[in-house]
Assembly symmetry: C2
Homo-oligomer: 425 residues x 2
């Protein structure tokens, strides 16, 4: 089965879409101009921006400036003169509007896992009579491993995994011992979006603290940590935000918790007077007490360039295009043999990726990659395709669906070279 | 008082040295060729490489390659194809010979503070009946703050600060409750070098684990973690190693501890099967269990370029020149009015920096910086000067001493602009 240029196959109750129609959608796309802000491979369709975002055009120059000028020429003076000390706060303040937070509620530092450790430890201290951390058994595992790590260190604490994140299941587990609940806003496999406001309200009504992992939603849709009443959040910047491989992560602490929150990765960057070199720790006021130590200035430089792009992007337009792209992809691929669309159809339950179940998902993804359509695979049988509205076009979505149809029809994925397992896909 | 070109003032029992003699020393310096491996300011003397090392010439290009080619062009494929997953191990293996370790005993990740948290938590678990962590009250404070953080999280544990690091003081504190001792190999203020072999033996004889912070010794002198019997170590790469601002840190775990050591920042990069996405944590074998999550690939690229330089450097020659440079500087500045040399004179007790006490150290350092001699200041009254043998020449040491003499003689440091406090120095 292939999708020809004039194909108008009906799918899922929607009329089929031709490539010409996609080109017309691109011509009318208010975000189309953003594509020129990225350096992208000449050929192919990149649908893995939910794992590693693309390179903004100005990033290389900004990194070069930090390396050659701030470091190479000014050396140690740049800590003061180039504002290196302020960067964690300044970058945090620039991420804040993307997650519905005030500037003083977000700081950029370390990695998502390290930051989750900090906020989990802080949450356990803020709820001293309670010893349980609830997580989602289907969450990206590093969150579960970190919950295991922090509860294993704190006497009497325990990490409990939910079998699902339905309101009923949450209710069943939200007893008086739950100190904190950690959930992903968007599921890394299925792309399912949780109702942040409803879940947060339910958790807080039970006296627990709500910690959101927004790795798969920041930059993909408007995130409203503040108005939803979230207590803490962590997120990475290398997916939809395009900060670069291993770019620094961020964390959010609601202003109401900042005076009392204490975290154990209490390095000198979180000290009230770091250059007094006092032997005893005394946390600084505000979000700064969640800092630990020297940030990667190169990583921060790349993130700064990526956030320049986000300053011009309207998140509502991003969300509208994201839903249109994923709608389009779903409608084109759902008729394909052996393919099951796992991602929810309802807009309010969908992030910005589409997960397809296929018995031979691994080699199918490899064959697609050889054809220039970059998605990825998550065991045991999910093919993931991320749709990043700033640089993916409707015509590319059409092309990707066409390539998938051709791979499945040809059976080329059965070739041996597509069935050798690498570390990632 | 000034040091004229033909000055032969005696100092500390040694004959004075002329600039011409320094130039002759430079001409005979076996490490002189390394200066061309660094991009340095045209003018001035950089004596703060003990805080932020200089930029290696090849770093900018290597970072550009990672940004534009590995990230920009190959995108997600670089995790496999460019060996991103292997980088923490590969870089660790390249640092290993600089600290006297086997390749599988060192891994590059996170920051020094975060890594100290990991090894401290691991050490407490390896000594379950013991609850005390001993530190040096004069250590770089982040180590003390982290010890406070980890012991505060672990029920019943406590952090105790030594008033000094003499064998007698250590003996007095090394009771049966001490699980681990954390000490800096070189004191960040005074530049004093501890006897790693003797201290480690004393600590281990008391049944405790020895954790070294080698931030101020790695790249400054041969460090022998393995033959000294060290249990754990942490270090940064942005000082003598020249990895760049906020470059990734490293940690060392003696092979004998790796199978049993468990650390609580148990992110997915430390999992035995990270891409199986299992809900329960199961640490991988070896040093990898001390990894947490995605490293900064930009920071790692810069570190890789810096280590290229170190592959050609003989650490014994580095140590010999370091001692000669610091000897020279001490001999030139010790006669200056109001200056007290705090750094030990004995070679076996000296790292690669010289600390001078001066009542008005802060403005004196500022006046020196304006003259192009970059050192730094540590409260309350210490001026620090770091001597990095790969790119500091004997003539520069002479020039720096001359500038210091002129600043002190002129009294220019009394000017108001030198007395305004910035965040650092």
């Amino acid at each position: 089965m292939s999708i020809g240029p004039d194909d108008t196959r009906p799918s899922g109750g929607r009329p089929g879409t031709t490539r010409e129609q996609c080109e017309a959608l691109d011509a009318a796309d208010p975000l189309a101009g953003f594509r020129a802000e990225f350096t992208l491979p000449d050929k192919g369709v990149y649908l893995d921006g939910n794992s590693l975002g693309a390179l903004p055009v100005r990033t290389a120059e900004r990194v070069r400036e930090v390396v050659e000028e701030e470091w190479g020429r000014e050396l140690i003076r740049s800590w003061n003169d180039a504002g290196w000390f302020e960067q964690p706060y300044r970058l945090g303040g620039r991420i804040a509007p993307l997650v519905g937070a005030a500037a003083g509620e977000v700081v950029v530092c370390d990695t998502t896992s390290v930051n989750l450790f900090k906020v989990l430890a802080a949450a356990l201290r803020l709820r001293p009579g309670r010893r349980t951390v609830l997580g989602d058994g289907a969450a990206f595992p590093t969150d579960l491993y970190i919950a295991e790590g922090v509860t294993g260190l704190v006497g009497g604490a325990r990490s409990v995994l939910l079998p699902s994140t339905t309101p009923e299941e949450l209710e069943r587990h939200l007893d008086g011992d739950v100190a904190a609940v950690v959930l992903s806003h968007v599921d890394y496999r299925t792309g399912e979006l949780l109702d942040m406001a409803a879940v947060t309200a339910q958790v807080r009504a039970a006296g627990a603290l709500m910690i959101w992992d927004v790795c798969h939603s920041v930059g993909a849709l408007p995130v409203e940590l503040g108005s939803c009443g979230a207590d803490f959040a962590v997120g990475c910047t290398y997916k939809y935000l395009n900060g670069g491989p291993g770019s620094p992560a961020f964390l959010y602490v609601a202003e109401r918790h900042q005076a009392a929150a204490e975290q154990p990765l209490s390095g000198w960057f979180g000290h009230a007077r770091p250059f007094a070199f006092e032997p005893a720790y005394a946390p600084t006021g505000g979000i700064g007490r969640f800092l630990t130590s020297s940030p990667s200035l190169l990583g921060q430089a790349a993130l700064g360039a990526a956030l320049d792009v986000w300053e011009r992007a309207d998140l509502r337009a991003v969300r509208a295009k994201s839903l249109a792209l994923t709608d389009l992809f779903i409608s084109l691929v759902e008729p394909l043999d052996g393919v099951e669309v796992v991602t929810p159809r309802e807009h309010h339950r969908r992030g910005s990726q589409v997960a397809l179940r296929h018995r031979d998902g691994y080699p199918v993804v490899q064959a697609l990659i050889e054809r220039g359509v970059i998605g990825d695979f998550r065991a045991p049988d999910l093919m993931r395709f991320g749709f990043t509205p700033l640089y993916v076009s409707y015509a590319q979505v059409w092309d990707a669906a066409q390539q998938l149809a051709e791979v499945l029809e040809s059976g080329e994925w059965r070739e041996e070279r597509f069935n050798r397992r690498g570390a990632v896909t």
